[in-house]
């Protein structure tokens, strides 16, 4: 049983009054302080849409009324499609999905204890792995191919994804030409431009520069992507005490404004553009201001972000499931589990970074995908909650079994046991004797075996004719 798209929302770190106060403060910031827009095209567009623009300072301010009108135009549900329809996901409401995240610099090999700059081959292998891990619902491109010149990076990253997994492929992008090439490639794979719009098998990510700034390059990219109508996430990454107030509420204000600036721009460019409200909010280590990827505050911030997105009726992209640990150990387990659980229970639509990332998001690791797949299975079970109805309350059964009886042979048990209780694929539940007889392996040793087996034995690639067409039309692809 694969659990995905179930409704969360039972965990609410913010009261309704708190959500309103964060919203009101964010609107005050947009009205009174404004945000800097360094892309000329974007600045013009904001001006045309009724913003107050200070050209010298590149500053944009909008009335809260105008902000809310633009938010209204954005769809509250977005379908992100897989090449295989069974992998489609419908972001919005309080439905929860999980996925990988990026873009890690390094790949870690637990058996040698070494990390290396990641390559295109790593990216392909991770795609193969994720294709088989059922509790990871979406493939976000997790690494950067260090061996390629930047002009070839976008199209090769997306090709590595699309050619190795049938799940939806989301990714950050680096150049304008790259974006155009990727869209062209996706059109070929989808069948046509029209088909790609109906079934977007890719989506893209840009970023804002907290606090209150939209960079020139990313402003231009947002405009290009919105014009093409490709689903887009424009997340903000305010870090407590560094690029946002140190307080969680202050961080959420910056988070809200900075993520909304991207949403607003897309709706000005192309009303109705599928855009996702995105949070990469995090905290820092005050010992050296290092970015932290596994703090409990990060879990709280991203769970709260889900509530704010629900308030604006926008689909949400959250960050959770990572760790600051350098190895796969207790810390990597509890940090990954806690942060993804908080987001999921709050009804975060898409939890990105939920699989594979360690060491402050700098490093990815094959084994961690397998471990996180298990964590996410448990997380989704928690989201599912407890079904209470006549059948599950089981009065008749209790009456039938009576005092001192047992439920082992009851049909009810067989009927419900597999679905009612999460069945682990990695966790060890053997007796000590059994466990020792099987080699006494630790979690990461078992995960390593799982990862090796999947990568060796499973191979998806694009249908031959389509693949051929992509390769012949797009010269930059390294096959």
């Amino acid at each position: 049983m694969i659990r995905k798209g179930l409704a969360g929302g039972s965990f609410k770190p913010l009261t309704e009054e708190s959500i309103d106060r964060i919203h009101q403060t964010a609107m005050r910031v947009i009205e009174d302080v404004g945000f800097e827009v360094n892309s000329e095209i974007a600045l013009e567009l904001f001006k045309g849409a009724g913003a107050w623009v200070d050209r010298e300072k590149h500053l944009v301010r909008l009335s809260r009324k105008r902000v809310m009108e633009l938010i209204e135009m954005a769809p509250s549900e977005i379908r992100l499609c897989g090449q295989d329809e069974k992998h489609d996901i419908l972001l919005g409401g309080q439905r929860v999905y999980t996925g990988t995240g990026g873009t890690a610099l390094y790949i870690y090999h637990p058996d040698t204890g070494q990390k290396q700059l990641a390559t295109l081959d790593d990216l392909k292998r991770i795609a193969k792995l994720v294709e088989q891990l059922d509790n990871i619902h979406l493939f976000m491109l997790p690494t950067y191919p260090s061996e390629l010149p930047v002009e070839q990076v976008d199209v090769n990253r997306f090709f590595a994804g699309l050619d190795n997994t049938t799940k939806h492929v989301m990714g950050g992008i680096y150049t304008l030409d790259g974006v155009k090439q990727v869209i062209r490639m996706a059109e070929i794979i989808a069948g046509s431009g029209e088909r790609l719009h109906q079934r977007p098998i890719i989506s893209m990510i840009t970023c804002s520069m907290s606090p209150l700034k939209m960079d020139r390059h990313y402003g231009d990219l947002v405009v290009t992507i919105a014009q093409a109508g490709i689903p887009l996430v424009c997340p903000a990454e305010p870090l407590c005490g560094a690029t946002s107030p140190v307080t969680l509420a202050g961080n959420l204000v910056i988070q809200t404004v900075d993520s909304l600036t991207g949403v607003l721009l897309t709706q000005i460019v192309n009303p109705g553009t599928p855009v996702v409200f995105g949070s990469v909010s995090a905290s820092t280590d005050f010992r050296d201001l290092k970015y932290l990827a596994g703090s409990v505050e990060m879990g709280l911030l991203n769970a709260a972000g889900a509530q704010i997105a629900q308030f604006y009726k926008l689909p949400f992209y959250a960050t959770g499931g990572m760790t600051d640990s350098k190895v796969l150990d207790a810390q990597s387990g509890y940090e990954s589990a806690l942060t993804s659980l908080l987001c999921a229970l709050a009804g975060a639509n898409f939890i990105h970074d939920a699989a594979g990332l360690m060491e402050f998001a700098l490093t990815t690791c094959y084994e961690k995908y397998v471990i996180d797949n298990e964590i996410l299975g448990m997380v989704m079970r928690a989201v599912e909650g407890i079904a209470v109805n006549d059948e599950t309350l089981a009065f008749d059964l209790i009456k039938q079994v009576g005092p001192g009886g047992n439920f082992i042979t009851a049909k009810h048990t067989r009927h419900f046991m597999r679905d009612e209780h999460y069945q682990p694929s990695l966790s060890d539940r053997d007796s000590r004797e059994e466990w020792e007889a099987r080699g006494g392996k630790t979690t990461w040793e078992r995960a390593a075996e799982g990862a090796k087996e999947i990568i060796a034995n499973h191979n998806y690639s694009l249908p031959a004719a389509v693949r051929q067409q992509v390769l012949s039309e797009i010269a930059d692809i390294v096959d």
Partner: protein, 236 residues
């Protein structure tokens, strides 16, 4: 009297107070003179520059360092102190020039072209300022040409480059090549840092040093400072 003012400077460096309006680490100090006011006062009293720097600023910073090591202080505490020292050094600079006492040197810092990550670079700048260097921060997304122009203009002894992306680390090499092409390479020591780069990468592109964090950045700069003096390099 002299001793008092120096002790106050030292104490306020430890408190991380630039001016009289600042809060300190301890409660109830707002309104009392901060390091800026005290430095002006010390100058007015004719207290020696060396004493202000050594017995006031440096001794204060040493204690801040100890508190940091002991996990009593966090980075924002440390930065407040570094800022106080930086403010004092700015006040002292014209006097230093006149008296012939050399400041520790000037460093230009920048995040390289195409890269917008600047939190780490900003920390490095503040810590270097706190350690007594003159820091010229060129910001982020800075092209090799801009850095070359700044080296010509500012005549620094050091250039610090930051990169966090695989796609931008290569611009560190480009910057070094541009400096070489302009005949400036041997006028400056080049130090690099940021999540994308390593000691090995630093060597491979011909940089002089690498710092994994802000403290190492200061240490590497200091160690290159001493070798710099030996070489006696200067801008002609």
């Amino acid at each position: 009297m002299t001793e008092d003012i120096l002790a106050l400077i030292k104490g306020n460096v430890i408190q991380g107070r630039v001016t009289q309006d600042d809060e300190g680490f301890d409660e109830g100090v707002v309104g009392q003179p901060g390091v800026s006011e005290l430095t002006e006062k010390a100058l007015a009293r004719g207290i020696g520059l060396r004493d202000i720097i050594n017995k006031g600023l440096t001794e204060g910073m040493d204690i801040v360092g100890q508190k940091f090591e002991a996990k009593e202080y966090y980075i924002p505490d440390m930065l407040a102190s570094a800022e106080a020292v930086g403010a004092a050094m700015e006040i002292l600079e014209p006097h230093l020039a006149k008296s012939g006492i050399k400041s520790k040197g000037k460093i230009i810092v920048a995040t390289v072209e195409g890269d917008l990550h600047d939190i780490g670079k900003n920390i490095v700048s503040i810590l270097l300022r706190g350690a007594g260097y003159m820091v010229k921060d060129l910001g982020n997304d800075v092209s090799p040409q801009t850095i070359v122009a700044a080296v010509i203009e500012e005549k620094p002894q050091f250039v610090g480059l930051s990169a966090l992306l695989t796609s931008t680390m290569i611009h560190m090499r480009d910057t070094i090549q541009a400096l070489t092409a302009s005949g400036l390479r041997d006028k400056v020591k080049i130090i690099i840092g940021g999540a994308a780069v390593s000691e090995k990468f630093a060597q491979s592109i011909g940089a002089d040093g690498y710092g994994a964090d802000g403290f190492q950045a200061v240490r590497v700069t200091e160690s290159l400072s001493s070798s710099k003096e030996n070489k006696g390099g200067d801008h002609g």
